[in-house]
């Protein structure tokens, strides 16, 4: 059975043009899926509908067998603990240290009082340090996040998502503010998370080449509609043009570096 299933998701921000128009697809355990499309195509909205940070107007989403749209507030929190999220602007609390930010990923499991007081168990702290080490941040553990580079901040973001023990990680433009070097480190980590830990990774991306190189599967979105859904090997120059519209005529794509699957 699919881990994540979207059925006929439609979302209107205003009455006229839908941000998402009848979107349906399903994703399996451990899949690495890239969502590509021009700015304003609805990629961010699509991602946020999955953990209900944005409420869809109609349609049904099931995550790990649970239909999310009907959940109460408390059950929704439990569901969100299974879904990690990574942001373009990292969304860390800059004045807190790396380890404090990472441990924020455990708050979904905590009672109100324990969370308010920031009481984490020995086991949680050990796990945080383990994840921080995997991501190569062991020297920054007690540094404040405003002293980190962009790439390091994004790795803290990944660590915060991983400590949730998620089944899915959603990444909203994770490398859009990073230089090519840091971008590669982040994408390599995300690829490892999918391959080695078996966590499903769904990434919104601007860069088609990176989507081709890292993904098991690409979903192309234009004007709120899914216009392509298939493996990187099936994506042709013509289809890229359908996804990006007429603006892509002059763009040059290097279709050589595809993920072998």
């Amino acid at each position: 059975m699919a881990l994540l299933e979207l059925k006929n998701i439609t979302k209107y921000y205003n009455q006229v043009i839908p941000a998402l128009d009848n979107v349906s697809f399903s994703v399996d355990v451990g899949e690495f899926v890239s969502i590509i499309g021009p700015s304003g195509a609805g990629k961010s909205t699509l991602l946020r509908c999955i953990n209900r940070m944005v409420e869809a107007n109609s349609g049904e989403i099931s995550v790990d067998g649970v239909i999310s749209s009907s959940l109460t507030k408390k059950k929704l929190r439990t569901l969100r603990t299974k879904i990690g999220m990574i942001f373009q602007h990292y969304n860390l609390v800059d004045r807190l240290t790396v380890i404090e930010n990472v441990l924020h990923g455990r708050l979904g499991y905590k009672s109100t009082l324990a969370g308010v007081l920031g009481r984490y168990s020995q086991e949680e702290k050990k796990q945080a340090l383990r994840i921080i080490r995997i991501l190569g941040l062991e020297e920054q553990v007690y540094k404040r996040c405003d002293q980190l580079s962009g790439g390091q901040k994004q790795r803290v973001g990944i660590a915060r998502a991983l400590i949730q023990n998620p089944k899915i990680i959603l990444c909203d433009e994770p490398i859009a503010s990073l230089d090519p070097n840091a971008s590669k480190i982040i994408m390599d980590h995300l690829r490892d998370i999918s391959t080695e830990m078996g966590i499903t990774v769904i990434v919104n991306l601007h860069q088609v080449e990176i989507a081709l190189k890292y993904s098991d599967r690409i979903i192309g979105v234009n004007k709120g509609k899914v216009v392509f859904d298939g493996s990187p090997l099936e994506l042709t120059a013509g289809q890229i043009q359908t996804i990006y519209g007429s603006e892509s005529e002059d763009l040059i794509f290097d279709l050589g570096q595809r993920h072998a699957g």
Binding site: G84, M85, L92, V93, R95, L96, H104, G115, Q164
Partner: protein, 261 residues
């Protein structure tokens, strides 16, 4: 097209200065203010102050009387400000766009803040005089209400400024409302809030003198007493002590700011 923007900007600036000049000249004519006489009397005032308004050896006899008054005024200002800050924190959390529970709470707390802020301190003092007569309590509540209004507004802006990026991230991990307040909002905005609190304490020590004149308590009353007895030497000594106290407090709070910001 570009030229138009530059011409427009220059015309805007010219228009603004023309308006300023018209307002100034207009108000001088309406109030029949004699500019020359105004400036020449400044020197007269300075000469009078220099020959009368200074402490002499004889006025030092009042030190044992004014020092306890000064202490009372400073402590009352600090107490009024810190207690107001606690209430302002709750009101600002309820009122801020990013942390409000719902629109109604937000409107109510913004309304309270605006009401308390827009009634002048002097009016508070006079009205409260009717309730508490001449006692330190009158000054305490006058400062408390005025500070509450100002601090609520300042705290609200601080919370809005730290933004909802990290709030969004914690919501996505499944964290609850109080988790987010205590783990993201407060750590991010606390230094700026403390800075506002220190500023308010400084301002309130100055204003407490004025309130003291009106309500007949504290150091303000001492000043009023000596001034009305034409004992200018003693009155000037009181002023000097107020200035020294305010400068000391400013020095201390600047140092605190440097550490926390």
């Amino acid at each position: 097209m570009r030229d138009d923007i530059f011409t427009k900007r220059r015309n805007d600036n010219l228009g603004f200065f023309a308006l300023l000049i018209v307002l100034t000249i207009g108000s001088i004519i309406i109030t029949k203010y004699d500019v020359m006489k105004g400036f020449s009397s400044i020197s007269k005032a300075l000469i009078w102050g220099g020959s009368n308004f200074y402490p002499d050896a004889e006025s030092l006899r009042i030190l044992p009387q004014i020092l306890p008054k000064l202490q009372e005024t400073v402590l009352m200002s600090i107490a009024a400000t810190t207690v107001a800050a606690v209430f302002a924190l709750f009101l600002s959390l309820a009122g801020s766009r990013t942390t409000r529970i719902n629109r109604i709470f937000s409107v109510i707390s913004r309304g309270i803040a605006s009401l308390f802020r827009n009634i002048p301190l002097v009016a508070w003092a006079m009205v409260l005089m009717l309730a508490f007569s001449q006692s330190p309590l009158t000054g305490y509540f006058a400062l408390f209400f005025a500070s509450l209004g100002f601090l609520t507004r300042a705290f609200m802006e601080t919370i809005d400024e730290v933004g909802n990026n990290s709030i969004e991230a914690l919501q996505a991990t499944g964290a609850g409302y109080f988790h987010i307040i205590f783990q993201a909002v407060l750590p991010a905005s606390m230094p700026q809030m403390i800075s506002w609190l220190l500023y308010m304490i400084e301002t309130n020590i100055r204003d407490a003198t004025l309130v003291g004149v009106l309500t007949g308590t504290g150091i303000g009353f001492s000043f009023d007493l000596y001034y009305k007895r034409f004992d200018y030497h003693a009155a000037s000594l009181v002023v000097i002590f107020i200035v020294i106290t305010v400068m000391l407090i400013e020095f201390v709070s600047n140092n605190i700011r440097r550490v926390i910001l």
